[in-house]
Symmetry: C2
Subunit: 561 residues, 2 copies
C-alpha cells in the first residue's frame, strides 16, 4: 500500500477555527496507532503504538509511526492521550519521549501503571496525568472528556475532544461485553448524551467491522476453562497475551478452585501481572503463585503454567516447549490452552507450535476447537449501536486495514451518514474538520520507521530489499586485486559465496571467464575499477542465470594496491 | 519436526510374506505425498508430489520427497500409481522420471492427461497405464483395485493393494459429496465390500480430521455464484485453483446464463482447462471463451475473468491487479471472487491481495464472507463412515500434519480399532505389515530435497541457514590484501556491506580497530591467513554487536598477492 495517497499534495494552511487530524499510523494497517489533532497551532496526540513487521520486512524488530510530521513541532504537543496499554497503542511512547521527554502522558490508572513499568526499562521517568471515565480535563485548546470502554485489557478509555471546531469522539479500541468480568461496561449512555449534544466526527475502531453480529461475553470462556481443569490429567499450560488481566484472573480462579499452583512464565507476563496486582486489577489468592523455577518440584497434576508465546513467537517458552528446547518437557496427558486470538500473519508459527506440542502427546485446545478466546473488538452488529447512538455528522473509520475501513464505512452509510461525509484516509492523509465538514485536504510524509537492534530508522527500505534478495538467493562475491601503477590484476579472482546453493568447486568454471573479461578491460588502457566491477558482475550474473536459473546478489570487489 | 524419528534405527530385513510401507513424504506435513510399498523385493509407489516451502525455507521453489531410499532400487519399481492430478500428488513425477524414465505411470484418464501435458514441458514422454474405477490390474506382486472417489478435481481414485500380506486400502484424497456436480460418488459400496473381505490396513486422508461434521456439497456454491452474477455491476474476476474443473464449469455455466464472455488467465489455468476440455471433463459453450488479450475490448459488465493467484502468489495476475501492476485496472464496481480454500501459510499474502483490491474499490468475496468454496477433503463425520465401512484391522493416518494424524487416530479408536493397531508414522518411518499386524520397525533417511532454479538438492539446510541470517541481518565483508612474501597488509581493509542497515561512513570507526588487530597478528611472525580472518571477524562482530545490537553475517576476506 502506498504511503501517502499518490495523488495528494501537501495540505493548504488550516483555516482558523478548523481542526486538523493526521494519523501517523493505524490507517491501512492494524498497529502503530497514532492520531495527531491540531487546533490553533497546538497539538494533541491520541495513542502512540508499534506495528509488528510482515515477512517482507525481514529482521525488523518493530515499526514505529513516522514522527517526521511533528518533529519540528514537538513543543506544540499539549499531551499524548493513551486509550489503553496494548503495544499497538503505547509501544512507540519510549521513542517519542526520546525526542521530548516531558510530554505529558494522559491515561487511566492501569494504562499509566503499565507504561511506566515499561518506560523504567528504557530509563525514562514520564510526566503522568491520571484521568478516569466520566471526567473532563483540558490540554491547551483541547477539552477532553473520557468514557469507559470495555476491551481485552482493563481500564480502557474512549476520548471526546471538544474544540471550537466541534466534538470529535475517538473510541479507542473497544467491545461491548454486556456482562464483563469486572462489571465495567462501555459507556453507551455517555455516547448517547454526546450524540444528543452533536458529534461532528466519529473515529471508531474498525478491526471487526467485517465480522457480522456480536462478540460473545468473556464469561462464555469460563465453562470451557472449568472443563479443561476437570478433564486435565497432568499439567495445564495456558498461553495468553501478557496484558489480558481478566483472562489470567479466570485461570487464577479456576486454579484456586481445583487446588493447583500457578507459575507465571515470560518477562512481560510477570511484569504486567505484577503491576495489575499492585494496582488492584488482579486478585491473587494467597499461596497460589509459585516461582517458575520451582514448578518442576510439584506433581504435574497440581500445577498450571501461564505463559506468553500464544502467537508462536520462536523465542517464547511455548515454542521452545514444542521444540523440546525448554526445561519443561511436554508429555502425554498434558493439556495446552492457547487462550488468545490468532493475530493475522502468525498462522504458520502457531500451527508449528500446535503440531510440535501434539507430536509430544499434548492435547492442544485453541480457538479453532473450543471457545477459549473471544475478541476484544466490537463486531459489525455492535458498531452499528455506536453509530446510531452518536449520530455523527462525519465518520472516519480508524484502526484497520483497507478491508476493515471500507466495511466500517458501509456500516456508517447504512445508519444514515451521507457518503460524502465519510472519510477513508490512509496514514499521512490530512483530514480537516472545518465548518462541520470533514474533508481530505492533502497528505504529509508518512513512511515506515524500522527499529532493528538499537537503531531507529537506520534500516531503510533499500536495506530491506537487499535483505529480501540475500534471504531468497544468497550472494556471490568476487574479489580482484589490481596493481594501481600497472593496472594489472595481481590477485584473485577469488570467489566467496553464501546461501547461493552453489558448491565452491563449481566456481572453477567461471573464474577463467572473469579473467579473460578483465584482461580485455585492461587491454583498453589503464585500470577502470568501475568498469572492472561492471564486467565482473555481468559475467558472473549471466553464468549463474544460465547454469542455475538463479539470481543471487553479485558483489564484485576490486581492491587497488 | 525431526526426520526421521530420532529414536529409530534402520529396520530389520522384511520377513517373507510381509509388506513394507515407507512414506517419503506426506506424513507430518501437507504435501509431497509419496508412499513406497514393498513386497518380495518389488516396489509399488503411490503418488509422487511436491511440498511448497515455508518462510524458514527462503528462496526455495519446491520441496521433493527424498528419493534416497529408492535410488539404488529404481529398477524394482513396478509402477507409480497416481491417485489424482494435484501438485502435492504428481508434482515430483518429472524428477522421479529423470532418474528412471520408463517407470509406468498408472492413473485415471484425466490424471494421466494432466500429468502428460505437464511432462511435455519437461520434455518427458511417459509410459502410461490408464485405469478406471471398478477395475483391477496387476503390477508385479501387487494386485491393484481402483475405486472412484470424489475430490476437488475430477477422476480421482482410491487404490486397494492386494498381496499375500493382506489388503491395504489407500484412499488418496477424497471427500463424500452426496450430490457431486458430475454425479461421480465416492464408492462407499466398494469400500464396504472390501471391508467384508477384510481390510488389513487402512491408509486414509487426514486433512480435515479436526473438522467436525460434514463438508457441504459443491452444489451449495451455485446460488452464491448466481447472486454474484446478478449483483455485479462491472467486471467479475474469479480466482480459483487451476485444476478445479468443476468450479470453472460452474463459472462457465453462470457466464453463459448471464451473457458474459469468459477469458482464462494464467498458464496453468489455460493448460489444464485445455486438457479437461479435450478429454470431455469440461463443457465449453460455443462462443463463450475470449482470448485474454482481447478482454479489454468488451464492456466490463459483459466479461468474466477466471485466473490463478487465489493464494496470493506475488507473480500471479490477481496479486498484480491488487498492486496496479497489471493491464487490467480493477476499479469501483468490480467484483472479485476468491473461490478457493486458503492454504495454511498463505494467509498474509491473501490478506494483502484482499486489501489491495478493496483499496481500488472492488467488492471482494471470499470464503470468509460467503460460501464460495467447500473443502475437497472429508471431515471427521465422513471419515467415520469410511472407518466403519472398511473395518480395518490396522489403521495408519496419512496426508496430514501431526495434529491431523493424531485427530484421525482418535477417530479410528472411537470406531473400535484397538490403540495398538493404530500406527502414526512420520516421513521415513518404516511400517511393516506382517501376519496381519502393522508395526513400526525402523526408519530410513528422509530429508528435504529442495528445488531452486534448475538445481535439485544442491541447496542444503546449511545454505538455508545462511539465507535466513542474510535475510534477517545482511552481511559485512572485510577485504584485506596481504603481501605473501613480507606478510604485510598492502591493501584494505575495505568494507562492503549489504542489508546491514549500517551506513558506509559508520565503518570508518571500526577500520582502525581492524588495522591495529592485524598489526598485532603480523607482529607474531609471518602472515597466518586463518588467524587474520578470525581476528577480523571477532573485531567486527563485537563492534556491530556493541554499537547496534545486531548480528549480521561477517565475512573476512584475506587475499594474498
Amino acid at each position: 500500500m502506498s504511503h501517502p495517497h499518490p495523488e495528494l499534495g501537501p495540505p493548504p494552511p488550516l483555516p482558523a477555527g478548523g481542526l486538523r487530524i493526521v494519523a501517523l499510523g493505524g490507517l491501512g494497517e492494524i498497529g502503530r496507532n497514532m492520531a495527531v489533532f491540531e487546533y490553533d497551532g497546538r497539538l494533541l496526540v491520541v495513542d502512540c503504538g508499534v506495528l509488528f513487521p510482515e515477512p517482507d520486512q525481514p529482521g525488523v524488530d518493530l515499526i514505529l509511526p513516522d514522527f517526521e510530521y511533528i518533529r519540528d513541532r514537538l513543543d506544540d504537543i499539549e499531551a499524548v492521550v493513551l486509550t489503553h496499554a496494548h503495544e499497538d497503542h503505547i509501544g512507540a511512547v519510549p521513542y517519542l519521549l526520546r525526542e521530548r521527554a516531558d510530554i505529558p502522558l494522559v491515561g487511566s490508572r492501569l494504562t499509566l501503571g503499565l507504561i511506566e513499568s515499561k518506560l523504567t526499562e528504557h530509563r525514562i521517568q514520564p510526566v503522568k496525568v491520571e484521568v478516569a471515565e466520566g471526567t473532563r480535563r483540558r490540554f491547551g485548546p483541547f477539552e477532553c472528556e473520557f468514557f469507559a470502554v470495555n476491551h481485552s485489557i482493563p481500564d480502557a478509555l474512549a476520548v471526546a475532544l471538544r474544540t471550537p471546531a466541534g466534538i470529535v469522539l475517538h473510541t479507542g479500541d473497544f467491545k461491548m461485553d454486556q456482562l464483563p468480568l469486572d462489571g465495567r461496561l462501555t459507556d453507551l449512555g455517555g455516547f448517547a448524551r454526546l450524540g444528543a449534544e452533536g458529534v461532528d466526527l466519529l473515529m471508531s475502531d474498525s478491526t471487526n467491522s467485517e465480522v457480522p453480529g456480536f462478540v460473545p461475553s468473556e464469561r462464555t470462556i469460563s465453562p470451557v476453562i472449568d472443563e479443561v481443569f476437570r478433564s486435565a490429567a497432568k499439567r495445564i499450560i495456558v498461553a495468553c497475551f501478557a496484558s489480558h488481566v481478566h483472562r489470567v484472573q479466570q485461570i487464577f480462579d479456576a486454579a484456586e478452585e481445583n487446588g493447583r499452583k500457578v507459575a507465571l512464565i515470560g518477562r512481560s507476563m510477570v511484569r504486567n501481572m505484577g503491576v495489575a496486582r499492585e494496582l488492584g486489577y488482579l486478585r491473587v489468592p494467597p499461596g497460589l503463585l509459585v516461582d517458575s523455577r520451582e514448578i518442576e518440584e510439584w506433581p504435574p497434576e497440581d500445577v498450571v503454567l501461564i505463559c506468553t508465546g500464544s502467537q508462536g513467537e520462536p523465542m517464547a517458552a511455548l515454542s521452545r516447549m514444542a521444540n523440546r528446547d525448554h526445561p519443561i518437557r511436554v508429555a502425554e496427558g498434558d493439556t495446552v490452552v492457547l487462550a488468545s486470538s490468532l493475530v493475522p500473519g502468525n498462522e504458520t508459527a502457531v500451527n508449528k507450535v500446535i503440531n510440535g506440542l501434539t507430536r509430544w502427546g499434548a492435547r492442544v485446545i485453541h480457538k479453532g476447537n473450543a471457545t477459549v478466546h473471544v475478541s476484544g473488538h466490537a463486531a459489525a452488529g455492535e458498531l452499528l449501536y455506536v453509530l446510531n447512538l452518536t449520530k455523527p455528522s462525519n465518520f472516519m473509520p480508524v484502526h484497520g486495514e483497507w478491508r476493515h475501513m471500507r466495511a466500517h464505512a458501509k456500516l456508517a452509510a447504512l445508519t444514515g451518514v451521507p457518503d460524502d461525509h465519510i472519510v477513508i484516509a490512509e496514514d499521512g492523509v490530512v483530514v480537516d474538520l472545518v465548518d462541520g465538514r470533514a474533508r481530505v485536504t492533502g497528505a504529509v510524509q508518512c513512511g515506515y520507521v524500522y527499529v532493528d537492534g538499537s537503531s531507529v530508522g537506520a534500516v531503510t527500505d533499500v536495506a530491506l530489499k537487499d535483505r529480501r534478495i540475500l534471504g531468497d538467493e544468497g550472494f556471490i562475491s568476487v574479489v580482484v586485486v589490481v596493481d594501481s601503477t600497472t593496472g594489472k590484476v595481481t590477485g584473485g579472482p577469488e570467489i566467496y559465496a553464501r546461501g547461493s546453493g552453489i558448491e565452491i568447486e563449481a566456481f572453477d568454471s567461471v573464474i577463467p571467464l572473469i579473467e579473460s573479461a578483465l584482461e580485455d578491460t585492461a587491454a583498453d588502457g589503464v585500470a577502470d575499477l568501475q568498469q572492472m566491477r561492471r564486467v565482473t558482475r555481468r559475467i558472473v550474473g549471466r553464468w549463474v542465470s544460465d547454469t542455475y536459473r538463479r539470481r543471487p546478489m553479485i558483489i564484485p570487489v576490486v581492491v587497488e594496491v
